[in-house]
Symmetry: D2
Subunit: 106 residues, 4 copies
């Protein structure tokens, strides 16, 4: 995925429908949570058998994430990499290998 191209498509999609008025950062943050839970619902009682449903719900989460990143002028790749640097130092390999404990317990 080249996010620069996709965000252009998403911006057009939103603008055509005059939907920017609903896309406050807060509404986008709520939307990410709402779609994340719809994705989780596929795993509510058992693992999903229809992967196209996982694809659709995951796409919804990603879509709202890209719209929120765009709203704050954040580059998705850069923010993921920046966070990874912080996570690397919170979870040094020697202390966290094979463990699921949170960093304050490793």
């Amino acid at each position: 995925m080249e996010s620069g191209e996709i965000i252009q498509e998403l911006r057009s999609f939103v603008a055509e429908r005059d939907w920017e008025q609903f896309h406050s950062p807060e509404n986008l943050a709520k939307s990410i949570t709402i779609e994340a839970a719809e994705l989780l619902e596929l795993f509510q009682w058992q693992n999903p058998s229809d992967i196209s449903q996982v694809a659709d719900e995951l796409a919804d989460v990603l879509t709202y994430c890209l719209l929120l990143a765009d709203k704050y002028d954040l580059d998705p790749g850069e923010i993921i990499r920046s966070k990874l640097v912080k996570t690397r130092s919170k979870y040094p390999v020697e202390k966290s290998k094979g463990k699921s404990d949170k960093y304050d317990r490793i």
Copy 2:
């Protein structure tokens, strides 16, 4: 963001720490929801003033999304585009312009 490159970095990060054992699709879906709510928490009582916190929490959501896509061999860009095609037909411009109603009410 070129997601192919980033997913390589994320795979290495996970493998170094022997964390794949915790990354069942269900655990990844739970993680996306958990991180989405941490992002929403920045908007709980007011809008956030510190955008670097938004960047970090959004990065966490995106990270788990990419890991789940990778787990199911889904390309993030493709699934977003596929879903956009479906959303376009659910929300034709002439019926949905300027409205936030769900498709069964437009």
Copy 3:
């Protein structure tokens, strides 16, 4: 739990701190989601061993639920019972026994 008594205590707690100003229905709905995800976080990679943590997080979800019910003048017991009547007819015993399928698939 006698919810009538508890809601009185919660109202006092909120009023003492002049917090009603932050308790719009929307903020309360966001808070329920945020706390629900903190509860889920205890189950992120494995089941929790410390049940007092489950108790605290579950208490937070319940607290915001009672505050939202009170905001809309809804009685928690009544709304649970009303919904149960609807759920009984969506999931008749003979069709849903032993199955986790949603009602449109039983």
Copy 4:
């Protein structure tokens, strides 16, 4: 709401349908999150006008909360009160009055 009575009704409802098999603590925690997001969805773009929908979604969250409390033999009223004691000391009136800041910032 007298939660002791309601939990009896919920237990019967679940038992009649042989659904306890699906009610692991983790599945109940996931369900609380899923229903909380369905409630939040009513506030996604604007405040809801149909309060009966709020009542139904809130009832779903409360229902799963009571089922999880029952699974761990927790009394909803007691855990709310216990947590309130802790919250009182984290947010003393003189420091937190009129402020929405988290306790480490008041």
